[in-house]
Symmetry: C2
Subunit: 160 residues, 2 copies
DNA sequence: TATGAAAGCCTTGGGCT
DNA sequence: AGCCCAAGGCTTTCATA
């Protein structure tokens, strides 16, 4: 496969993070359950040294959490949907609040453009879609797309 | 906050997964580094019993991975972009291939609607945007939005 | 950052319900 | 099957340099 990596001038170099940190983060991004001793082996550090660095990365907000990723289909959520919303009136905050309150919505983002928000949700049936969309229609116009496949499933940030 | 949970008939009940599994998955979705003994304490099982269940959930594809989540801004990627693509010609496969080859793209999905794909990427500068979009323009029309905030940051599937 | 000791954890095997 | 218990070997942690 071709390599389409584009390397810009680095306009924004993170402070206080060195190559060893980046290697630890690369490991943890794909194998969050690796032990500290194991991480130390992979990057060439002792376990206590790795423990210190991981703790610092957590405390400074570089690492925001550790999550097991699950297959929604295997858990009874075969329908994945992406919804964009173009607010009809000045009710942007309301839209964010409703998204927060619907547990099927696993992420919601505010963005530039005509469509101010988009969110992704996992549903047990398509019948769930209508009542959820109806929560938003008072505040804007929705555009709904069913997600079929993921040519690039969620993957780590390219560090180092 | 109001509870907008909508409970449909469960058209699709996952087989071979019981409440204990769901509780383990709930824990791992927010705390993937929790030890087996700790997990056992939380769900009322011994460590070996938890180990068996976690191994089974991994082997059956329910758990697809464990990832540390990082803050792109803290790592020198202050620009997050969502791009939709409406293919101009029958080059759907080509678009998926290019997305795969651009490391800044952390996820890409195929969906229904006029815009067949959307992807999300993290950039070091806005200057990176143009050359990446130019990789796709031969194959379709792109719509680009900068993501400002995330009213609902990535959160677990609501299990149980 | 590495070392060494103590505490706690993971794994394995065996036996129970 | 699925779970618990117990023992050996590792890991993690904390003190110290």
């Amino acid at each position: 496969m071709a390599n389409r990596r584009i390397r810009p001038e680095r306009a924004y170099e993170p402070k206080g993070i060195d190559d060893l940190d980046l290697r630890i983060l690369t490991e943890l991004q794909t194998d969050a359950r690796a032990g500290l001793a194991e991480l130390g082996r992979r990057v060439g550090l002792s376990a206590p040294a790795v423990a210190d660095r991981v703790r610092r990365l957590e405390e400074t907000g570089v690492i925001t959490g550790y999550r097991a990723e699950v297959d929604p289909r295997a858990l009874g959520f075969p329908v994945t949907v992406m919804v964009r919303i173009r607010p009809a009136i000045r009710e942007l905050q309301r839209i964010a609040e409703i998204a927060e309150e619907v547990p099927q919505i696993v992420e919601c983002h505010r963005m530039t453009g005509d469509d101010c928000f988009f969110f992704v949700m996992h549903l047990r049936t398509v019948a769930e879609l209508e009542p959820i969309l109806d929560l938003f229609t008072p505040y804007g116009h929705t555009t709904t797309s069913l997600i079929h496949t993921s040519p690039v499933p969620r993957r780590p940030l390219p560090l180092g």
